[in-house]
Symmetry: C2
Subunit: 247 residues, 2 copies
């Protein structure tokens, strides 16, 4: 067992509005938007997307169409008119994305990626890449800050559960410790929920919101771990798939 | 059982920085700073304080001395030089406060009271006035928003636990419902912690911080429900003890 002072630190920030309270200059920031932006981004890379540009504004995203990009935009859970894709992970599969460049703008997730941009390194987290991401984090020499996108800057439950899953895995590795209250809370909540994530979220605000849109299938998929074992990483404002070279 | 649409709403805001995301114009805001500002404020009124002015700045607080006030100031857990009191609930007892006017400035709690000032009504919550506060809230016609002071605008665990206790009591009354993710999370955490709040907080950031100051006795006291059954309410920027008149 390592002593506390030898371990790296893992923290959780529950809203992009609180991000500046954390020192991320020496941290890897894991951006989380379980329903559904960061899940869909992982799916796209698993299905062979070449790069993904997270874009803040809708019109700015639309302009990428002329440059040959697949364009994706969602607001308040729904695909916007005139775009190739919305925010459903099932859209980001197969020939639609294989070898393609994608520009994407969503209500919460892409905003959070922009907020995180100033940190040492930004990677994308979802239940879909949970194990491969945590195994990679354990091998890095950096502290980790999980940034939950939330819903319009409010705390949300599903992002917190994934943060808790990451905290639990990193602490179990003996390489990380945490005295961050958000991380402690997230780990407790994940421990309560992990046997039935879908059931646990039954009354959550976002699941109620998405229920009206009949996308329960999306939610079940986004809560099922390890279906897209890739690590999307931000390089110069563009997400690419991390390829590790072991010599 | 009332239907959901007949019930009032209870929400939880986990940081003063997120307060503007909530519509509090029609809500009673319960300001929470368990360790220790809102606990000490309840104790002061239980011991006969006449009024308490929450003040943002230290020098501004000091100026109240000339006006005959008892002055209290704490930063980072410690009493500041030249003040009558810090932030320990044991200071706010007996003749020190009986019949007195107090001006107080603390790291987190008094700032949160100022942030909440624009809402319909502001009351002070702590474990020390938990039951009397919840019984009163149930009889009001307003939605409730619990505002956790946190630690320098970050999420903290002890304030969240009290928010969870309030959410649980209000929902159990059948007068309130909640679909706020922060409230759902807070209630789960309180349910986990309630048999041993002190033990649950063992690794929390604030308890670790205060441990260095040797004030474990303060913490145990602040976590023991219903020792100061009063309801401090903000009126024109001044906290007074709510006196209900039943005709």
């Amino acid at each position: 067992m390592k002593s506390s002072s030898e371990k790296k630190k893992v923290e959780v920030c529950s809203s992009p509005l609180l991000f500046d309270l954390y020192d991320s200059s020496d941290s890897i920031v894991v951006v989380i938007d379980v329903l559904r932006a960061t899940s869909s981004i992982c799916v796209a890379f698993e299905h062979g997307a070449e790069k993904i540009i997270p874009v803040a504004g809708v019109e700015e995203t639309r302009a990428y169409k002329e440059k040959g990009f697949v364009i994706a935009a969602e607001r308040d859970g729904e695909k916007l008119d005139g775009f190739d894709l919305g925010n459903s992970p099932f859209g980001f599969m197969g020939d639609t994305v294989k070898g393609k460049s994608i520009a994407i703008s969503t209500t919460n997730g892409t905003q959070a990626i922009h907020v995180a941009g100033k940190s040492k390194q930004v990677v994308i987290g979802s239940f879909l890449n949970l194990d491969v991401l945590c195994e990679w984090l354990v091998r890095q020499e950096s502290n980790v800050l999980c940034l939950c996108s939330g819903w319009k800057n409010r705390f949300n439950l599903e992002d917190t559960l994934l943060a808790g899953a990451i905290v639990q895995r990193l602490k179990n590795s003996d390489a990380y410790h945490s005295h961050c209250d958000s991380a402690i809370a997230a780990e407790h909540l994940y421990q309560l929920a992990k046997k039935d994530l879908f059931g646990f979220l039954e009354n959550s605000s976002h699941r109620r919101r998405l229920k009206k849109l009949h996308i329960e299938r999306d939610i079940e998929y986004c809560l099922t771990p390890n279906q897209a074992p890739v690590i999307p990483v931000l390089q110069g404002g563009v997400l690419v798939k991390l390829i590790e070279v072991f010599s």
